[in-house]
């Protein structure tokens, strides 16, 4: 079975004096149905890893396979197409459009697939009910709490039924109560079958998730899915859930 997402020997360098090697020979495989925590200190390369996984940024070297297709050499239009169908994003800063209702913010998740407005809204309402916001459909972001906003963003990442969802520190702007609620939601969605990668620098959250990948200085330091005895990052073969 093809992996939901597979990185092989990915290097990402940012130009500069000297150049910054944000990802250094990273290989990781994530299968459909997994829930993975990516953990590491600030500046270790977590966001860069997630951007490369999500085709928002291109690797300097290496292979990035989304649902079995290598995206590293695809055109800008092609990777945009991949994002519109296969990938959902959740960001620390929510990125909801002000002055737009929850329904319409979530409906934007289907906008670039050419789905009609009526269908976008129908599916948006469904997704909002799924994240427990069926009662907030007509609210705009500034009428909602931080936790509610992030649940709207999660609904937007799900609405087009992507191959996987990438969340970059989704609880970074939330209080502890909302953090718990969002992590619970992520666990529930995964239980229903959604593949999710969550970046966090909170060890407790990471430990509560099925698989942990820890990143340091642009390298994978350990991956709980790999055999405990083998040296970290030395294998291409991904573990089974």
């Amino acid at each position: 079975m093809t992996a939901a997402l597979e990185l092989q020997q990915v290097v990402k360098e940012f130009p500069g004096e000297p150049p910054v090697r944000a990802l250094d020979d990273v290989s990781v495989r994530i299968d459909h149905g997994e829930l993975v925590a990516v953990i590491g200190p600030s500046g270790s390369g977590k966001s860069t890893l997630l951007n490369v996984m999500g085709t928002l940024d291109r690797p300097t070297h290496g292979v990035v396979r989304v649902d079995g297709v290598d995206t590293a050499r695809q055109s800008d239009n092609e990777v945009a197409g991949v994002r519109s169908r296969k990938i959902g994003f959740v960001f620390q800063q929510f990125f909801l459009l002000e002055g737009m209702t929850a329904v319409d913010n979530v409906a934007n998740g289907l906008l670039y697939q050419g789905v009609s407005l009526a269908e976008r809204r129908d599916r948006s309402r469904e997704a909002l009910s799924r994240v427990g916001l069926g009662h907030r459909l007509g609210h705009t972001p500034n009428q909602m709490s931080g936790g509610e906003r992030q649940r709207v963003a999660v609904a937007r990442a799900l609405v087009h039924r992507p191959a996987f969802v990438l969340a970059d520190e989704p609880t970074g702007n939330l209080d502890s109560k909302s953090t718990g609620a969002v992590i619970d939601l992520i666990r529930e969605l995964n239980a229903e079958g959604t593949t999710i990668v969550v970046i966090t620098h909170d060890q407790a959250i990471a430990n509560s998730l099925p698989r942990q990948v820890s990143v340091l200085d642009g390298r994978i330091q350990s991956d709980s899915a790999l055999a405990v005895a083998s040296p970290a990052g030395s294998q291409l073969q991904a573990g089974q859930p």
Binding site: L97, L111, Y112, Q113
Partner: protein, 400 residues
Amino acid sequence: MTAVSTPPRSTLRPVDVLRVGASGPLARRMRTLLSALGISIGIAAMVGVLGLSESSRSALLDEIASLGTNLLTVEAGGGFGAGDSELPDSATGTIGRIATVNEVSGVWDVDADVYRNEFIPEGETGSVRVVAADESLLATLNGTMADGRYLDEATSAYPNAVVGSVAAERLGIRNLDQPTYVQIDDQLVEVIGLLDEFPLAADLDRAVIIGTNAAQEFFDAGDAPAVVYARVVDGAIDETRDVIPANTDPANPEEVTVSRPSDALEAQAAADDALTTLFLGLGAVALLVGGVGIANVMVIAVIERRGEIGLRRALGATQAHIRRQFLTEAVLLSVLGGVAGVAIGAAATVIYATSQGWRVILPTEAVIGGFAAAVLIGAIAGLYPAMRAARLAPTEALRG
């Protein structure tokens, strides 16, 4: 190729391009209104000026039509050495006998000065002339009286005068509620009528007109008419114009000049006056400034909305989709200004033209041109900001 190997593509439906383009301006209404203002002022100025000049031109043409375009003016001059040539004494009669001439009336210069009263120093006539004219003049010129009566058989033999509109003003005569006199040379002459303007014979506006008999009896008038006015059968104007010189002066037909005064008025109506050109220029400047304003607002929008751009890219928008969004936004701002401008310009035209009693004419070229200009300006103003937005790398945009 099988369906399985077809790569997924991003698509943005045309109706969604419009929705997405409108979402920014709708979320920031005050800014939207202000940024559309410049364009609306420019378009309003242009539509208003074109509407008003078109309406006033049509009013002038209507007036010319009501005055009649079948009036001909016959004067001496035109040939070689024509400096002191004169029409023959009998010109009025011969022209009147042409079959296609309905009405004819001669005007003679009278060598006399006119004053409001005997106390005005000699020479200060206010450049008011004295002329003698046939009793048929008023009918020939389709003239009307502002006050009193025109000369008739009874009054034209005596020292009675009718005063042209400008002459009346210069002589300080406003009405004839009281018996009014002017001094022509040594003779006290009663003013029995005040004329309205003669748009087709503006010379007469500056004249004091007396009867031909009175001119012969009391003053020094020549026998040769200075001007002969002829009202011609409609449809026979050109041929009449051609035969008048030979009829009038068979010996020297080249010394007879025939003109059609309505031609000059029509040419004037057709000409764009300087004020219209000036306002069109100002409107164009306002449009330019409005376009620069929109470009400016759009550049700011692209900087402020980096996060939105990054999000849309993450949701699958291509560079082209982002470019289209911001281009649409700029065009919508500009078109909003254009619609408001056309409405304001049209309203100004309707209000002013109605107050002047003119027929309201809104040139379609001005309205369509106004919209087209707005679309074009918006597209040009939005081009650079839209390119910048599209070129922004998704990760850079998402850093906010």
